[in-house]
Symmetry: C2
DNA sequence: ATATATAACTAACAGTCGTTACTTGAAATT
DNA sequence: AATTTCAAGTAACGACTGTTAGTTATATAT
């Protein structure tokens, strides 16, 4: 009971440090001895807190996935135009990433090192998420808000590429804050889709 | 002499297969034994053709980098408006990637596993390339072709994110060919920047 | 003071890593 | 026919991998 609670604290320290390491070196190139060294302990001691290296990766990937799902569900629940929905979806996605840039980078770049069946589950969630954005775009094309000349797969993939690379270059100490970043990004992308911008 | 020429052929087979493997599993998770197995030979036999695992990665990364540089230099040499230049730059970048999607994916995702001083050199080339695109955007802002309300770093990073993820999702057997893809991508991105599109 | 939980330790395992040294058989060149 | 080049082979190296088993010191709760 209290076991679980106080475990969490130290366990989360381990997971957070692992996220930094995985982001920097990549999951496969990051060893448990590297991680232990960063925490000032021995590699074997890590296993008092976590079950395996991959458990850490799973935790990072699926926790982020849950955050993204939550954000998008809220956006979908509101009855607004497609362009407004897309805009809110983008802003929400950016906000979720900005809350943990390190985990976001791992989520994006290292998920492929998940083993089955976790990898399958992860990819299914991801496709589902992308398709929901695609639906918003299609809705916007149907309502006449968006051009119909652009390939929808291209549009949604371009959107996700832009969003997902953000954790790689965004400096949280920079002049532009995450909300502004989301707004500008949405503006840049949505107005690129909009007819008669 | 003839040594170098006929070596090239087999060496290139090795490098190409390595590119596929590196793309699929990531550089660090791909072993020389995996690679050898794919080629139907023993791991040690690889070293008749290449000096080291990293030499393969270097070859892939720097060859792609040279192609990108060449493409951009040609675009810059023509005296056209900034939006036309940006458009041509995007199309050129896409064309270079389309010529070798596998190597492009490795270039983009695995370059960080280069050791020093190669990593430093690589990153310098990359920054230089990005800055030249940034200059084109700045030129367009100055000439009034592009909005000045959008952060230039954001704009150029969004651009590169969109471009660089293409090898991850583009299916060369799909309905849309690389040139069309380049045109649509350029249209989507450039018109998103343009004032009064 | 005693019991419990936490977080660390040492030692070691079986397996994999990139790579080297040396050898061999076939093909091409002289 | 003799020599060289090419592409592969076998065996093995030292280092590193994730992980386990079992132990110990410290802090907290009873």
């Amino acid at each position: 009971m209290s076991e679980a609670i106080s475990n969490l604290s130290r366990k989360e320290q381990v997971i957070r440090k692992a996220a930094e390491l995985f982001k920097e070196k990549g999951y496969a190139a990051a060893s448990m001895r590297d991680l232990a060294h960063l925490l000032g302990i021995e590699a074997a001691s890590l296993y008092s807190h976590i079950k395996s290296k991959e458990e850490i990766l799973r935790s990072l990937c699926f926790d982020m996935a849950a955050e993204f799902q939550k954000s998008l569900a809220e956006v979908e629940s509101k009855n607004v135009t497609a362009s407004e929905k897309l805009r809110n979806g983008i802003i929400g996605h950016i906000q979720v990433m900005a809350k943990d840039l390190t985990a976001s980078a791992v989520f994006m770049n290292e998920h492929r090192h998940l083993s089955q069946p976790y990898l399958r589950d992860f990819l299914l969630m991801r496709i589902n998420y992308i398709n929901r954005f695609k639906s918003i775009i299609e809705q916007g094309v149907k309502s006449g808000e968006f051009k119909d000349s652009i390939d929808k797969k291209l549009a949604v993939m371009t959107l996700f590429s832009s969003l997902n690379w953000m954790p790689m270059w965004y400096d949280p100490g920079s002049a532009i804050d995450p909300l502004q970043l989301g707004l500008q990004l949405a503006d840049m992308l949505v107005n690129g889709l909009k007819k008669n911008a």
